[in-house]
């Protein structure tokens, strides 16, 4: 049994804050930060936006492209590390908002920045087993950063949704295969009731991000007997621009393969929405037959890898909803005080 994407959708809030604006507040060197992280500006949620509203927007775009009855969804999973409630599912809010009826299973997932791709794998399993007809997997976040922390330059807001189905005739892209690499690696965490995450500085690099992304990718290539040169596009999780570019170089991928999915420079790291949004941006452009590699990373730590192949139906469906780039171009810049209000640092 195989599974494919029958609908996909993106959403990125329109608000932005420039790295320069944040650096000015803390007396930091903007050039060093922009050169180091490769992030010029990041997206910020609106005052009335949260993971649930972002997930709903993305899900609506996915439905617009899938042209299915929302009541045919048998599962809804929303992956995030900023669910509005600790107890009360975002997935139920989304199901209600998109008119999924009541006959579906739902849950929220959390695995730092890879909760969305974990949801995608769960939907694949349910669809492939024949348990459900369609599954909706969403990765969305309004990620937090303590004021003054290095994360403040990257932690952004956005999300992507994918509807997974088993009918080949409905596929916009086939998910050829997936695999994961997981370990207990404490590089980044947030305890319950803590407003901001903590992280282990440089430890988040080599033994965390790189180890898991590289191992998951290698396992995926081995499993599918594919080489880096067999791919038209590659999307690696983007906590900043430096890490995915370095990972791509180590694995033998070229800039022309990863540049389309590398949206971190313009919107920051949208956490659970990050590599999924990279995928939606690639799907907005990729020609039928194109092969795509997607590798997520979630701190704690794990990576999910996917191999996708674009199908002809995508040509007539991609125009049915706003493209990822449309959201990237919508911008309203905030000053730091406004940003603090949007992030609920001040009330």
């Amino acid at each position: 049994m195989t599974a494919g994407i029958v609908g996909y959708g993106a959403y990125i809030p329109k608000y932005r804050i420039k790295a320069e604006t944040i650096a000015r507040v803390w007396g930091a060197d903007t050039r060093r930060i922009v050169d180091g992280l490769g992030i010029q500006e990041k997206s910020v949620p609106g005052k009335d936006e949260d993971t649930a509203t972002i997930a709903v927007e993305a899900a609506r775009n996915a439905l617009a492209r899938a042209l299915i009855n929302p009541k045919d969804l048998g599962a809804i999973y929303v992956g995030s590390e900023s669910h509005p409630y600790a107890v009360k599912p975002t997935a139920g809010i989304v199901g209600e908002a998109i008119g999924a009826g009541n006959h579906y299973t739902a849950a929220d997932t959390e695995f730092a920045c890879k909760a969305g791709t974990a949801a995608l794998q769960m939907c694949m399993g349910l669809v492939q087993s024949g348990m459900i007809k369609y599954g909706l997997a969403i990765g969305a976040d309004t990620s937090q950063a303590a004021p003054g922390d290095a994360l403040e330059y990257s932690a952004a807001a956005g999300g992507a949704a994918f509807i997974v189905g088993s009918q080949e005739s409905e596929w916009l892209a086939e998910i050829k295969d997936t695999c994961s690499f997981t370990s207990d690696t404490p590089d980044f965490w947030r305890r319950g009731l803590s407003p901001h995450p903590r992280h282990a500085g440089r430890f988040t690099g080599e033994p965390a991000y790189f180890k898991h992304v590289l191992q998951a990718t290698k396992a995926m290539l081995d499993k599918t007997h594919l080489q880096p040169t067999d791919f038209d596009y590659a999307v690696f999780h983007m906590p900043n621009a430096k890490f995915p570019i370095a990972a791509a170089a180590k694995l033998g991928f070229k800039p022309e393969q990863y540049k389309d999915g590398l949206l971190v420079t313009a919107i920051g790291n949208t956490y659970s929405g990050c590599s999924p949004l990279g995928l939606t941006k690639v799907l907005d452009k990729a020609r039928p037959g194109a092969r795509i590699l997607v590798v997520s990373y979630g701190s704690g730590s794990g990576s999910d890898a996917f191999v996708l192949e674009v199908k002809p139906l995508i040509e007539e469906r991609r125009g049915l909803a706003r493209r990822t780039e449309d959201y990237m171009k919508r911008k309203t810049y905030l000053e730091y005080a406004q940003y603090s209000k949007h992030m609920e640092e001040i009330h």
């Binding site: 060197d29 060093r32 282990a200 500085g201 440089r202 430890f203 080599e206 033994p207």
Partner: protein, 391 residues
């Protein structure tokens, strides 16, 4: 009056990779160095009479004090095992304890370790912890950090002798050149003068590449009574002289900041015991926690006259194949600076050089080498002299 009856030899060395050793904790680093040194000396742990372990911040950075017990229990031994602390000179102090234990006849075979695990805590935490090496009341509490203290010393030196930015940066470039040729070094890559100038300003005039890094690592050496050394080792290296001196904790209490008095005092003791002059030296491992520290050390050890070290470095004379090789290991700058391990690492480097085992950074025909290890801004200094032949 120094009355030393028994002479001491180094018969085995062990050292871990230096760097961000994420996959190993304090215990593993220590165990790896200990076991390597014992294997190098071709002895069973049971031969060891005493253990001394240099460490500065085990409790602060790794939550582990009582490293004496740890060092012996790794080897399943019940012998006397003691942790020694003297800030960044902890490793050398441990070495001297081992040396004196054998000289006095209390022990015949001593294992000396130095270890530090630094990368499990934040840079801010490390910077604060290391400030414990200064004077808390007069420096730390006032907001000083070590880069700040050494920047003051650099400014004082520059005012006195007119050292150029290029001369200072040349120390880092040379040490990275050596580090690139040392398999255990943290930074095995060469850098340019321009890289040093352009790196982030830490404390004027010191930029990031003027500063030694935060490092995990451990080093061990096995010392034994020189009379029996040949039973274990074909090419023992002998401890020809050793000196230790102290000075005020706070810079403010010193009459001059452009040199380190304790280095001059320790050197005088060590050179006198070894019956050598500076002309006899083939290489030195000095404490370059900051580039300026290497400049001052060269002059305090007498490698050149006051105010002349910058020229020597700029002319390339301190490269491994130059007239006066300094820090062939890469120094603290490029090899890394796991504070408690550094003093022992310096001994490992000199021993390997004198045994002709230093590979691509080998100083040809090296017979006599010196280690120079500083605690804090110079409140504790140890200088040791090593010889290939029996002194």
């Amino acid at each position: 009056m120094l009355m030393v009856e028994r002479k001491v030899a180094v018969i085995g060395v062990g050292i871990t990779r230096f760097g961000e050793v994420w996959e190993k904790g304090l215990r593993q680093l220590l165990a790896e160095a200990e076991l390597q040194a014992l294997a190098d000396a071709r002895i069973n742990p049971e031969k060891v009479d005493m253990i001394f372990t240099g460490n500065m911040c085990g409790g602060e950075f790794a939550g582990q004090e009582h490293l004496g017990g740890m060092a012996s229990s790794i080897l399943n031994l019940n012998v006397a095992s003691t942790r020694v602390e003297g800030a960044c000179a902890s490793g050398s102090l441990a070495f001297r304890q081992g040396l004196m234990a054998i000289e006095s006849g209390r022990a015949d075979m001593v294992l000396v370790n130095g270890v530090e695990k630094m990368t499990d805590v934040s840079t801010e935490h490390v910077t604060t912890g290391l400030m414990g090496a200064g004077d808390e009341e007069w420096e730390g509490f006032q907001g000083f950090t070590f880069p700040g203290l050494y920047a003051l010393m650099a400014k004082a030196y520059m005012n006195k002798f007119g050292l150029s930015r290029k001369q200072l940066a040349a120390v880092a470039v040379k040490n990275h050149f050596h580090g690139a040729r040392n398999p255990i070094a943290q930074y095995r890559k060469e850098i340019t003068l321009d890289d040093v100038y352009k790196s982030m300003m830490v404390a004027e005039p010191l930029t990031l590449l003027d500063c030694s890094p935060i490092t995990d690592g451990a080093a061990s050496v096995v010392l034994c009574n020189a009379e029996t050394a040949k039973q274990y080792c074909e090419a023992p290296v002998y401890v020809a002289g050793s000196g230790q001196a102290s000075d005020t904790l706070a810079l403010a209490e010193r009459s001059e900041l452009h040199h380190v008095k304790a280095t001059r005092l320790a050197k005088t003791q060590a050179f006198a015991q070894a019956k050598i002059t500076v002309k006899d030296l083939d290489l030195v491992e000095v404490h370059d926690c900051f580039t300026i520290a290497e400049i001052m050390a060269m002059e305090d050890l007498g490698l050149c006259g006051n105010g002349k070290a910058g020229r020597l470095v700029e002319q390339g004379q301190t490269y491994f194949d130059g007239k006066t090789p300094v820090n062939t290991s890469g120094g603290l700058k490029a090899c890394g600076h796991p504070v408690g391990a550094t003093g022992v690492k310096q001994v490992v480097e000199v021993v390997q050089q004198l045994q002709g085992k230093a590979g691509k950074r080998q100083v040809k025909g090296a017979e006599i080498g010196v280690t120079h290890n500083v605690g804090g801004s110079g409140a504790t200094v140890v200088v040791n002299v090593f010889k290939r032949g029996l002194p």
